[in-house]
Subunit: 390 residues, 2 copies
């Protein structure tokens, strides 16, 4: 079997998790041939923990120029995602970018523009939550046309709990200069992507962010966002890393159905006719349309990161379909940037928003960002934090 | 057994429902002796449908001055609630006011001021949802002090569906001049009261109202509100009369517990220690505090309107405790008025808000309000719409 020769830039929590999956032969069409980290300690760690058959680099450019790799997975801090993705594209190296696509849309659009110049480069985004059977099925139902239009979306995603020691585990964590934001940039890119993937993009965004409300950090750890869609529908997105046992409940109200995902279960209430048809013909003031509520069956598949990597390899080797096109990464980040901008300015933001203004506002915060002092980096096995449920 | 001699002003949907409960002997300490409605048709209807032992009036003042009644239940359109309550108080007649307490807080404060002058008048508010065992238990837990402070409140109460014919069933319905608002004034006073009864009042309110989004009406039928509490907690309140099968889910996140009421069931996730204690001592970046989730047992009692009336009679005859003190009606209405004002002005409102400004903004809308033409009033048995679940 043909195997793609893969390099990984960044061997922190996520990079090493991907490396282990590949070394454990969960991705039969991918061979890990090189690993790179600018932090020499991490390179030494990787040499000990991973395989002897791998080449190790401390310069990303050196690895990219080595001719050893055909494809590259980028798992560096968010600010540098787009830079290395562009470097890969310029060299004709297929690229998979960890979420978020970047920190601000301007840099992501630069990356997307470079991708346009290299149609042969297979460019994917690590939106592993798109592989979850429940969200795939939800999207299929919403976009089927069988239930009319969306009226209301509501996602309470407050089960991203992080204790203080998580934030203390890296001096870049939860700083404007290190991550460019908090829960919206680090934990929620998955949900922001799914939200738009399933429901489409809103046209107005108003967000209330609270910075360091539950932790000693400078970025947001508590978010309540209200949105409006072009058709008049509304939506709410609530997230936090401060709720020790939060909620993950996504509800979509449509003309002819209500859909709710909670506890990895998709429930539908299917109406006999649309609410509008009922309302126009019904003559009983306290009646509603007949409906049937049941759990929707899915294919049960939820391959997560491994699924994304295997689809990417399939796309490279056989022209298969990606789980998430790289250029779609800009959508979730647009939501995230608009939420930040709304909170920075204290007003409702219309999309498309002023990206230069956002960049300038972000850079003001980066300039005065206080990276933690005396922090010793700690790396963790994060696999329990995304499991099959998120 | 002593019985209170009761009169009812307003024999529409709610007034007649109360009358039937009393005539059905569900309120052993109350005797219905008089009924009044300014609409002569309703008086004729009541004469036929109710008891021959009752006196019928078409002038409220005449009934109040008759000496026949000791207590009065006010079930007239919202704008006139406070006027008749004040008339009762001035005559030493005990008074029970249907929700909402009034349409704007200025008039309700006038009513409360009058109540202060008549300490012997037992003044109650028809907040029948406070009798629901689930909300009583929820309040007890939240206010027990066992779970620390509130961090986040979230009520999605979109199961107030009303079809167009409901709005067409009275020319006053869903008009600024007839009701002074939409879902916030007619359907939600219960939840607005419970929200503050259980969680306390917020200090800031920002609300997005949509007027006639799902119906041909001039007032709001779709609401998304964001609030902030004095301790930094946040909250969201979402309601609509346009969702054919909506949701009634109330979640409260606290320092040491998460509480959720849905499907008339109260679930608690109880932590071993507060989130703060855990976060300070824990050293595992991806861990959270241990917790136990279970359904909370309640006393199962949910006597609704009858419970409110019986407690009122008990308060009058034996000094018992009301379900809801009349003067507490202002709290839910403060939330409702603040939501309207926020939407009218397009900005966040701090409490206490400018009540004169609100009154003036409301009166602008009342002045241009278009009552429906050619509408024939329809009266309905509404009992199925509040059952034991709301």
């Amino acid at each position: 079997m043909d195997q793609i020769k893969l390099g990984i830039i960044g061997i922190g929590n996520m990079g090493s998790s991907h490396a282990r999956n590949i070394l454990d032969e969960k991705c039969p069409e991918i061979r890990l041939v090189a690993v790179c980290d600018k932090n020499q300690e991490r390179v030494e760690w990787a040499k000990k923990e991973l395989s002897a058959d791998i080449r190790y680099y401390s310069s990303p450019e050196e690895m990219l120029d080595s001719g050893v790799i055909e494809a590259c997975l980028i798992a560096v801090p968010h600010f540098e995602h787009t830079k290395y993705a562009i470097e890969c594209m310029k060299r004709g190296i297929h690229v998979m970018v960890e979420k978020p696509a970047g920190v601000y849309t301007l840099q992501v659009k630069e990356m997307n523009a470079e991708a346009e110049k290299h149609p042969d480069v297979v460019f994917g985004m690590m939106f592993n939550q798109r592989t979850n059977c429940v969200y795939r099925k939800l999207r299929e139902l919403v976009q089927s046309g069988n239930y009319g239009e969306i009226r209301r979306t509501n996602w309470i995603i407050t089960d991203w709990y992080r204790p203080q020691c998580y934030y203390d585990s890296g001096d870049w964590r939860a700083t404007w200069s290190g991550e460019g934001g908090g829960v919206l940039l680090n934990q929620c890119p998955h949900q922001l992507d799914l939200w738009q993937w399933i429901c489409g993009m809103p046209v107005k965004v108003e967000s209330h962010l609270h910075y360091g409300l539950w932790h000693d950090i400078e970025v947001e750890d508590d978010v309540t966002t209200y949105v409006e869609y072009a058709n008049g529908a509304t939506g709410v997105f609530i997230t936090s890393t401060g709720d020790a046992h939060g909620t993950n409940r996504f509800e979509i109200q449509m003309d002819k159905a209500k859909l709710v995902v909670e506890n990895n279960q998709l429930m539908i209430t299917e109406y006999e006719m649309t609410e509008q048809e009922f309302s126009k013909t019904n003559t009983q003031p306290f009646q509603t349309v007949k409906a049937n509520t049941y759990e929707v069956e899915t294919d049960g598949e939820n391959p997560q990161h491994v699924g994304v990597l295997n689809a990417w390899a399939d796309a490279i080797l056989h022209g298969g379909k990606l789980v998430a096109e790289g250029r779609e990464g800009v959508n979730g980040l647009t939501l995230s940037n608009a939420m930040h901008l709304s909170a920075f300015l204290g007003k409702k933001i219309e999309l498309p928003f002023d990206e230069e203004l956002y960049y300038n506002e972000l850079m003001k915060r980066v300039a005065t960002s206080k990276r933690k002092v005396g922090v010793k980096a700690v790396f963790s096995d994060t696999s329990s934090s995304y499991g099959g449920n998120r």
